[in-house]
Amino acid sequence: MTMRINTFFYSIKQGIKNIFRNKMFSLASIATMAACIFLFGLFYIVIVSFNSTVRSIEEGVSVTVFFDKGISDAEMTEIGKKLQAREEVSKIEFISAEQAWKDYKKIYFEGREELAQGFTENPLANSAHYQVYLKDVSKQEQLVREIKAIAGVREVKDSTQVANTLTDFNHLIGYVSAGMILILLCVAVFLISNTITVGISVRREEIAIMKLIGATDYLVRAPFVVEGVIIGLIGAAIPLVVLYFMYQKIIVYIADKFNFIGSMISFMPVHSVFETLIPISVALGAGIGLLGSIITIRKHLRV
């Protein structure tokens, strides 16, 4: 069917009229939708912030690789090259025996340097090592196993415990919030469907007349789809605005009042959170509106 621009605008206009025609139900739907998207946004921000916190912790998680006694510098460099070449490795740092002793002295003999004078030889002569940082902490176990197999490697110290806990916790938060969001979305679909049902029953007479006059299915149905999508979009816009200002305020507030939390959580900058949150929420709002109205039309508007 060739759809005229005229009919297209007609549908939009009628859809908007529908919203005003049953104000209470539209408001209820918009409110629920807004609540859903608000919670979704909140979860999203929490997850994103937590993720970025985890990532910054993960970045600090490293594997320490020690070498066999009497290994040559060339061999050490060779091992270093092998490590750097691995996919899961983000960076490696070489700490020479001298550097290790220097760091050690700095930590343990600070202010009492004379005590360290007793050591004529470097007591950490065999402590040259690589700090290996990973891109993805969950791959640590595998990596450690494989580094151990490299010739010239004496010992590998890892932080499996930290890595595993972080990964598990990250997954848990992800699953829990996905579950809650799913439930909320179902509620939103249900409410929009309810609103559209009321809209259809209010306009039953008009629909009957339209059919008798020879309106196509498209023209009978389109206004209700438009109604659903608009409710979805308004429902998405409101919480986005609220969240935007809230997030800004909260970052400042926490950094100000709860210094220790601020230092534990690494908040993402506002624009980078909302760069993703806005399109997702808008798509979600429109999508739920679309789904809710289409389900209802299928059920109640068998034209």
Partner: protein, 228 residues
């Protein structure tokens, strides 16, 4: 042309609403269908609009068998038939102009054409001056005129009127009948279901009488079977 061949319609077990009806209405005819309530008149109208399917037999309009019209083609088919009801069925939240324009919007007419066509229709039914009034501000007769304008604005071949004067006083009823006659004189086939026997007598048109689902008489000149 409207043609019914051995058409029966029963809703559930029991006496059928229509029973083996054969009928032909030529293009440009003016036909009354009379009968008591429950005689099957409304069923006949609904069959012609393809709101119902016959249990047996077939209904044809302009050579097309209605049973073969697919759901998708239904809107196009219905645009060829104008319909008017006893209760007018106007949209209460729209004024006279918009009620008539609605029928054109539904079929996707461009606004420029709507603006030309609707005033033309309204002046034909004698309501040009009241185009901004709302249905509740109009008398029953005026509302029915709006309904007729709406039914005709898309230039249908056939106008079906289901008890068009049922809610009107005598004067208004006559006005509507004159209007329908005028429409018929312009070439539109008009089928009027009514139980206003006085009007039927005076108009001297073809009268088909239905009783308990069967056609009991079909007379050319306003006679009908009114033994009870």
């Amino acid at each position: 042309m409207i043609k019914l061949e051995h058409v029966s319609k029963s809703y559930s077990a029991g006496t059928p609403a229509l029973n083996d009806v054969n009928l032909e209405i030529a293009d440009g005819e003016f036909v009354f269908i009379v009968g008591d309530s429950g005689s099957g008149k409304s069923t006949l109208i609904r069959l012609l609009l393809k709101e119902l399917e016959p249990s047996e037999g077939r209904v044809m309009i302009n050579g097309k068998v209605l049973g073969k019209i697919k759901h998708k083609q239904l809107p196009k088919f219905r645009r060829k038939i104008g319909v008017v009801f006893q209760d007018f069925r106007l949209l209460k939240d729209r004024n006279v102009f918009d009620n008539v324009a609605f029928a054109q919007k539904v079929v996707g007419e461009p606004n420029s054409r709507i603006k030309k066509q609707v005033p033309l229709m309204l002046s034909m039914v004698g309501l040009a001056a009241k185009y901004r009034s709302y249905p509740k501000q109009l008398s029953g007769g005026e509302q029915q005129r709006v309904a007729i304008a709406r039914a005709l604005v898309n230039d249908p071949d056939i106008l079906l009127a289901d008890e068009p004067t049922g809610n009107l006083d005598n004067n208004n009823a006559w006005e509507i009948m004159k209007l329908l006659e005028e429409i018929n004189s312009r070439g539109t086939t008009v089928v009027v279901v009514t139980h206003n026997l006085e009007i039927v007598k005076v108009m001297k048109k073809r009268v088909i009488t239905i009783k308990k689902g069967t056609i009991v008489s079909d007379s050319k000149q306003g006679d009908y079977d009114d033994e009870d």
